[in-house]
């Protein structure tokens, strides 16, 4: 039996860790669903869960690179807060003076400015780590204090609100979703892209005369991916807009609002689309670019990387610049979702992000980690928190549980690695 299982798993070519993480996630959802009387696995809650996960998940993909190169970034939460403050001030107090209030370009200028700021700050921290050789732990611990303090200075501690209405769509509120039709379109495109990628990879392998998976395994994998993508679209489309928003929608479209209500789908939230794009880009960077290859080589053996002609100092700068850029994207999502930027934006996010990456199988000893793992890790973390809040677990117990789960997950990972010999 065991042997058959192993053959099947080997043929399909999925790593057991991925299966384990998905299994843990499904188990978690079932337990929460049962203990909340079916309130957890509803379209509404799954929609919220995916929106709440987006910001941390985006950052966790960058944290994978940071940890893989044997560094750490403790500053992401504070940096997120600082970038959020700057973006808020820019769009409320500075840009309207020149462009007029509510100008169409405000959201774009703000987002680009945030992205630049994040990249520059990240690169600067990376330069101190790579070229001045101050340990990342210290540099980013300092960064945590610096950027949190800087965020306060921007507005002397005042909350910035309300943010530009177009900008707020990036946070996935009622207006910030794709709606039913566009969601289907995205789902279809994603499915086709995934299948085409698989077919091309198989063809390339057989053209080199390599062994390929049996066809049934390819079909099974393609089927699961398709089911997952389209299933997600179905669920998001099953979550209707609330009455007020539906009325507004009807007005805007010139439809009569029927007395017994109108079913308008949310569809996929924009931050989830942003996360999807980030995930794809980061996966390609990790697996298909020289930069990605050097990140993993440096993590596996920094001396070997250096001797192979890789400029590991510059690599460090790039890795942290990328982390800064992703933090800026997360800052856009987080501030847009809340519609306001307060002093506590991003507090403790660094720990959530690191936990997500580590639960997702990123090894702190370096060299090992995956983008999809970190994202699933972020979903697990967010599911735990939302689920416990729904069940009514008090906040102190919540953090105890999250802490225990973190340690346990890493322990299981270590045992798995030892058994699997990798």
């Amino acid at each position: 039996m065991k042997k058959i299982m192993r053959n099947v798993v080997g043929a399909v070519g999925i790593d057991l860790r991925l299966l384990g993480m998905i299994g843990a996630l499904v188990l978690l959802w079932i337990v929460f669903d049962l203990s909340t009387g079916g309130r957890f696995m509803t379209p509404r809650n799954l929609f919220n869960l995916s929106v709440q996960t987006a910001s941390v998940a985006v950052m966790s993909t960058g944290m994978v690179f940071v940890i893989v190169t044997r560094h750490i970034d403790l500053s992401v939460g504070a940096l997120l807060g600082f970038i959020g403050m700057v973006m808020g001030t820019l769009q409320l107090n500075i840009l309207p003076e020149y462009l007029g209030f509510g100008h169409w370009s405000i959201w774009m200028i703000t987002a680009v400015a945030g992205l630049l700021l994040g990249t520059i700050i990240g690169a600067f921290q990376g330069w101190i780590i790579g070229y001045l050789t101050v340990p990342a732990f210290i540099v980013t611990l300092g960064g945590l204090l610096v950027w949190r303090g800087a965020a306060w200075w921007v507005t002397q501690g005042q909350t910035v609100a309300p943010l530009d209405s177009t900008f707020r769509m990036l946070g996935g509120g009622v207006e910030g979703t794709l709606g039913a039709q566009l969601s289907w379109l995205v789902g279809m495109v994603a499915t086709i892209a995934a299948v085409v990628t698989m077919v091309l990879a198989r063809r390339r392998k057989s053209s080199h005369g390599f062994k390929v998976k049996p066809l049934w395994a390819e079909y099974a994998q393609g089927g699961i991916v398709t089911l997952f993508i389209l299933g997600y679209v179905v669920i998001m489309n099953a979550y209707p807009l609330p009455k007020g928003a539906a009325k507004r929608y009807a007005e805007a479209e010139g439809i009569e609002y029927p007395a017994d209500g109108l079913f308008i789908s949310h569809g996929i939230a924009i931050p989830v689309i942003i996360l999807l794009v980030v995930a794809i880009v980061m996966t390609v960077v990790a697996q298909k670019t020289r930069f990605g290859r050097y990140v993993f080589a440096t993590g596996g053996n920094p001396d070997a990387a250096e001797l192979s002609g890789i400029n590991t100092r510059m690599l460090t700068v790039k890795v942290f610049a990328l982390m800064g850029a992703l933090t800026a994207i997360a800052a856009v999502i987080a501030s847009a979702r809340l519609g306001a930027v307060g002093n506590d934006l991003g507090v403790l996010d660094e720990l959530r992000v690191i936990a997500a990456a580590v639960i997702g199988g990123t090894a702190l000893s370096g060299g090992i980690g995956t983008i999809y793992g970190a994202i699933i890790g972020a979903v697990i973390m967010q599911s735990l928190q939302s689920g416990m809040a729904m069940v009514g677990v008090d906040a102190p117990l919540q953090s105890i549980v999250v802490g225990v789960v973190l340690v346990l997950a890493v322990f299981i990972d270590i045992v798995y690695r030892r058994r699997a010999g990798v």
């Binding site: 080589a297 053996n301 070997a304 890789i310 090992i368």
Partner: protein, 251 residues
């Protein structure tokens, strides 16, 4: 042979780690199609000397000439640009990556979109391994899962693949079985015939007598002397290594 310009001339190289002079005023040279053995006891400074040539260390003093022209080698990239390839004693492999990724590390094959082409690299790796070590079949695992000898094969393959003009081998057969060692010896002779110059560091006197044309012996960071292998006996070499004594008959 010595009328040609040398491939490599290292002149008066010095390098200290803190107070320790690991390499103290050492000069060696290497001609095309020649194997020069670098010998000495543990800690004599052999690895440090060749790391200056491979760009891993920067010398405190001294000059390097490649093909008679003064060369500046500040890092491993510079050395590679002079077609100097190195098999390090520590192998210098990224343990978490597979054989192909290690072989091409820093010089990946990319497709027309600039994306790393793993399949093409694996195909190339299979081809060259077929020639150098047909017993090597594990192309999927990270090299951490390979045996010491298999790892050494990967390191050797990497140095040979990219058309080196100058090859540095720091104890290349240390982890190899007799069959693989014989294969490396054959490889060295083949490369030599192609006109490649090789610095070979080894503790095995038998290997050295068999493969090398000349030997340079180091002791405590200093050069004891350089001799033609044909002119000296095993015992004379041993006495150079252990006692730091030059053979009396040569000048």
């Amino acid at each position: 042979m010595n009328k040609q310009t040398p491939l490599i001339e290292m002149k008066n190289i010095e390098l200290a780690f803190g107070g320790v002079k690991a390499v103290n005023d050492v000069s060696v040279d290497l001609y095309p199609g020649e194997v020069v053995g670098v010998l000495g006891h543990n800690g004599a400074g052999k690895s440090t000397l060749i790391k200056v040539l491979s760009g891993a260390y920067k010398a405190d003093a001294g000059e390097i000439f490649v093909n008679g022209e003064k060369a500046t080698i500040n890092n491993p990239r510079d050395a590679r640009a002079y077609n100097i390839e190195t098999i390090y004693q520590t192998l210098a492999l990224a343990d978490n990556l597979d054989a192909a990724s290690n072989l091409f590390l820093g010089r990946e094959i990319v497709n027309k979109f600039g994306m790393v082409d793993d399949d093409a690299m694996e195909a190339e790796t299979r081809k060259i391994m077929q020639r150098l070590n047909p017993n090597f079949t594990n192309f999927k695992s990270p090299v951490s899962a390979l045996s010491g000898g298999q790892r050494q094969s990967v390191a050797i393959t990497r140095a040979v693949y990219f058309n080196a003009r100058i090859l540095i081998m720091d104890e290349p057969t240390a982890a190899l079985g007799p069959q693989e060692t014989a294969m490396v010896a054959e490889l060295i002779n083949q490369l030599k015939a192609e006109g490649i110059g090789i610095f070979l560091i080894s503790h095995d006197i038998h290997d050295v007598m068999e493969l090398c044309d000349r030997i340079s012996v180091m002791k405590n960071g200093k050069l004891v002397g350089t001799e033609n292998v044909a002119d000296v006996t095993d015992d004379e070499i041993l006495s150079m290594i252990i006692l730091g004594k030059k053979p009396t008959k040569s000048n």
